[in-house]
């Protein structure tokens, strides 16, 4: 269905080709998963499928890409619209109209389909993706999962044979991601659609894949069955890492498969003496309070974002704040940094009300990296961003540590997502505030970058800093957090040591915990630490 024949893709002004001699064939009806590190060329591969690269970006494509027999050389993207549906990263940026129904019809209007056909296909698409209840709603008022499904519905209505998706679940909470993936699964099984999808959160998607396409980063692309590729890919979900470490054969890709092998390991682990509570530093007798939230209540119009929250943050803690989209995680963080003032109750950071702090007083008390770290960056080079930080040298050092080898003359908007986060972090951390707030820091981050982030956060906490991370990423929480707070409907539902909280709830449990339950171990590193002699 999709065929790459010896394809080399070079962008204008680029020294190295983004894709080099790629030959690839995705048969009809397969779900192929594209994996690789950030900036390795996954997006280029996806965009080459319908000719966006190079028709749209400029550059040279050597070789041939055909979809359903149509050559991208002779068919510009718009002429492939009825064969390939493309959903790019962050679907909100691709919406043309205001209302769900109109958006679904938009592409068909461009194709000039008749009114009757459009009516029928809009209804089909609404049903297939479960959007009938929101068909008249403005797109921007939908939840992230609904928006993603609306974007898929809007390309699906043109009856493409191939669906290309760039990170469809990276911005979604686990439940919403589930909705989207279930919908995709149904499309593949019921309609025989061919799907090509890039995704960083392999733990969510790898079990759905019929084939994995590995983009190596040097322009090489290989593909194979999931079990083969996962055996040595540098990016792998925790369950695969556990399987590789334990040398399970064939390599398990899902929790279910891994549990079949895990019996002996569970027995060994439960025989070990109980381990002490995970903590970066030994808890002092009376930990110092860094920040305190008392009865905070925040309301936007009729929507209650926080309803009387109490929270005390201590030095040396890494706190994960989890919960659905819109549960109040961001609002809690915002009120800690004084962007939102509670209508009732109070917030104190270092004994001060953050709303009243400004300039250097604020940055030396509390730092926050917002959901889109790019918002913090408005200068025209990495160097300039560092110079404008509170401590330029410290900012430069931290950035080099997190994202080694980046040209300081680069424009922040040309950085990869991970590098951009690194720069925003460096800028914020250089102010040296004892309290650091991160809102969804792992969106679009690959595993190696995530590991470096985790290392940095641990060191900050060990030095007595306090870190609050609002996240959907259960693996990150399991990896780094000492304490986990779960928020629902503006209330704190659970607050306790991460190990207790996440193992108690299947929704927040990381893969390793699910494999090893009832043994309370969260990550491969935990297992390694408990069984140093096993290797």
């Amino acid at each position: 269905m999709i065929r790459f024949e010896n394809v080399t893709l070079t962008y204008p002004d680029a020294r190295e080709p983004a894709l080099r001699g790629v030959s690839l064939h995705i048969p009809e009806g397969e779900l192929a998963l594209v994996v690789g590190r950030t900036g390795s060329g996954k997006s280029s591969l996806l965009r080459a499928v319908n000719g966006l690269a190079p028709t749209f970006t400029g550059g040279t494509l050597q070789g041939r890409v055909t979809v359903d027999g149509r050559d991208t050389r002779t068919h510009p993207p718009r002429e492939l619209a009825d064969v390939v549906g493309v959903v790019l990263q962050d679907p909100r940026n691709g919406f043309v109209t205001e209302v769900v129904e109109d958006e679904i019809a938009y592409g068909m209007e461009s194709l000039g389909l008749s009114t009757e056909v459009m009516r029928r296909r809009v209804e089909e698409a609404l049903d297939l993706l479960g959007l009938n209840d929101v068909r008249q709603r403005p797109l921007r008022t939908l939840s992230g999962g609904q928006q993603q499904r609306a974007a898929i519905a809007s390309v699906l209505a043109q009856h493409p044979r191939v669906l290309v998706l760039d990170e469809p679940t990276s911005a979604l909470d686990p439940a919403a991601a589930e909705e989207v993936l279930a919908a995709l699964q149904r499309l593949v099984h019921d309609l025989g659609l061919t799907v090509l999808m890039a995704e960083h959160r392999l733990e969510r998607v790898v079990q759905f894949a019929d084939r994995i396409v590995h983009v190596h980063g040097d322009g090489q692309v290989t593909d194979g069955l999931p079990v083969q590729v996962m055996a040595d890919a540098p990016v792998a979900p925790p369950v695969v890492e556990l399987g590789r470490w334990a040398r399970w054969e064939p390599l398990p890709l899902t929790v279910r498969e891994a549990r079949r092998f895990a019996g002996p390991l569970r027995a060994t682990l439960s025989a070990l003496p109980p381990r002490p509570e995970r903590s970066v530093i030994p808890p002092p007798a009376a930990p110092a309070t860094v920040a305190e939230v008392k009865g905070a209540r925040v309301q936007y119009g009729s929507h209650v974002a926080l309803s009387g929250v109490d929270l005390r943050l201590h030095a040396g803690e890494i706190v994960a704040v989890m919960g659905r989209n819109g549960a109040g995680k961001s609002t809690l963080l915002r009120s800690l940094v004084g962007l939102t003032e509670p209508s009732a109750g109070q917030v104190r950071v270092g004994g001060q009300n953050p709303v009243e702090l400004n300039g250097r007083d604020l940055t030396s008390t509390v730092g926050m990296v917002p959901q889109d770290p790019g918002d913090l960056l408005w200068n025209e080079s990495v160097r300039q961003e560092c110079i404008e930080s509170v401590d330029a040298d410290e900012a430069r050092r931290l950035f080099e540590e997190l994202a080694p080898g980046v040209d300081p003359a680069m424009h922040p908007r040309d950085l990869s997502e991970g590098q951009r986060l690194a720069l925003a972090l460096a800028v914020v951390l250089s102010a040296g505030a004892p309290l650091l707030l991160l809102d969804e820091p792992t969106r679009g981050l690959d595993y190696p970058t995530k590991h470096r982030l985790v290392g940095l956060l641990r060191r900050r906490a060990a030095a007595g800093g306090t870190i609050v991370v609002a996240t959907h990423d259960v693996e990150l929480a399991a990896d780094v957090a000492t304490r986990t707070v779960v928020i629902a409907e503006g209330d704190i539902v659970t607050d306790g040591p991460t190990r207790d909280v996440v193992t108690a709830s299947p929704q927040f449990a990381p893969q390793v915990a699910k494999v090893l339950a009832p043994v309370q171990m969260l990550t491969v590193a935990d297992v390694l630490a408990a069984l140093p002699e096993a290797l």
Binding site: E98, G301, H303, G326, L339, G359, D375, W378, S389
Partner: protein, 385 residues
């Protein structure tokens, strides 16, 4: 026996505009304050009966306020700068003569009731016309209106649709950038800060436009039906000839020595050629419309009621000049001619004929600025920004 309540739907926006423009045309045929007041009342009645909950529905009031302001300015100007009309002097202002380079204009002097009344009548005409336009603004859904843009203007129409959709996110982004500046301890006031913030919003918007363009292109935007070169040349010739004809006709209008009929002929031919050219360029687009707004009998009746008013007023202006254009010198109470009054009442028909709007309509597709969803990362503060 009870009749089933009528189904709610929105009247075709083009029908509202045609009705309102026809009523405005009627208002332009008279200076009779009684008729003008009747027209304003009819516009208000229809707006009250058939407007939705959407934010733009509030614009009728804004137009009335604007009209009253214009009327006020008009009266003040008449008192200050007006040409002297003999009659009942109301009061006398000190007289000033402006320097020669300002055309030696005269200011002040005696202000007569007759002069003020004349200004009031013509000012009221502006208020009435503005009320009609305001009614159209309040009743017609702008996004639906853009669906009726002819194919020749398709791309520009899409750009406006995109803009209307994006304004709220541009405002939300502005708010996020301001917050980010606070997070970095940067001042939020001063011209440098405004410049930085504006540039950041611009940069974000531009980045977004590229994604949008890629998405649009992959969804088939801009598929054209290639027209034969001959056909394109004919269209171009028609259009350009039309414009030239309009230009000459326009100059002829200015010139007293040209026969008025010649000017009218040139303008009519020019407009016709331009319209034919426009119509022909519609053919290039391969496009269909999903769920076009239906045009049923209420639309026709609505437009007809406005057109009847316009026609009766036009005829009355010729047949009954004294009633339609009452003089203020000597002072007299204006008469109320019956035919135009009845025509005005007919124009109120849409208040009943147009289908009712549902009490929630418009709320969901509300105005982009007012309906920022209060979700976690778009705080309500952004609305106030």
């Amino acid at each position: 026996m009870m009749r089933a309540p009528r189904a709610t739907r929105a009247l075709h926006p083009v029908a509202w505009w045609l009705w309102a423009l026809a009523l405005a045309a009627a208002a332009s045929r008279t200076l009779n304050p009684l008729l003008l007041s009747a027209i304003i009342a009819v516009a208000a009645l229809v707006v009250a009966a058939r407007r939705s909950q959407a934010p733009w529905a509030a614009s009728f009031r804004a137009f009335l306020v604007l009209g009253v302001a214009v009327l006020g300015v008009r009266l003040v100007f008449e008192a200050l700068f007006g040409a002297p009309i003999p009659g009942t002097t109301l009061f006398t202002l000190p007289e000033v003569t402006l320097p020669e380079w300002m055309a030696g204009a005269r200011l002040g002097g005696a202000v007569t009731v007759e002069a003020l009344l004349a200004a009031l009548y013509s000012g009221l005409q502006l208020v009435a016309i503005l009320a009609c336009v305001g009614a159209a603004n309040a009743l017609a859904n702008p996004t639906r209106l853009l669906k009726s843009v002819p194919g020749a203007l398709y791309e520009a129409g899409v750009a406006v649709v995109v803009a209307l959709t994006l304004v709220p996110s541009a405002l939300a982004h502005l708010q996020l950038i301001r917050e980010a500046r606070r997070l970095r301890g940067q001042p939020s006031r001063g011209i440098t800060s405004v410049a930085r913030t504006a540039t950041a919003v611009l940069a974000g918007a531009l980045e977004r436009s590229l994604t949008l363009a890629a998405a649009m292109d992959s969804r088939g935007f801009g598929r054209l039906r290639p027209l034969p070169a001959r056909e394109r040349r004919i269209t171009a010739t028609l259009t350009l000839a039309g414009l030239i004809s309009l230009l000459i006709g326009g100059f002829a209008l200015l010139d007293a020595s040209t026969a008025p009929l010649a000017a009218v002929a040139l303008l009519t031919i020019g407009a016709a050629l331009a319209l034919i050219g426009l119509h022909r360029s519609n053919r290039r687009a391969v496009r269909s419309v999903y769920r076009p707004d239906p045009w049923r009998w209420p639309e026709t009746v609505t437009v007809a009621s406005g057109v009847i008013a316009a026609a009766v007023y036009t005829a009355a202006a010729v047949a009954l000049p004294a009633e339609m254009l009452p003089v203020t010198n000597p002072l007299a109470w204006p008469a109320l001619p019956l035919a135009p009054l009845l025509a005005t009442l007919i124009a109120a028909a849409p208040a009943w004929v147009a289908p009712p709007v549902s009490s929630t309509s418009g709320k969901s597709t509300a105005d982009p600025v007012a309906s920022l969803a209060p979700n976690d990362h778009l705080p309500a503060k952004a609305v106030a920004a």
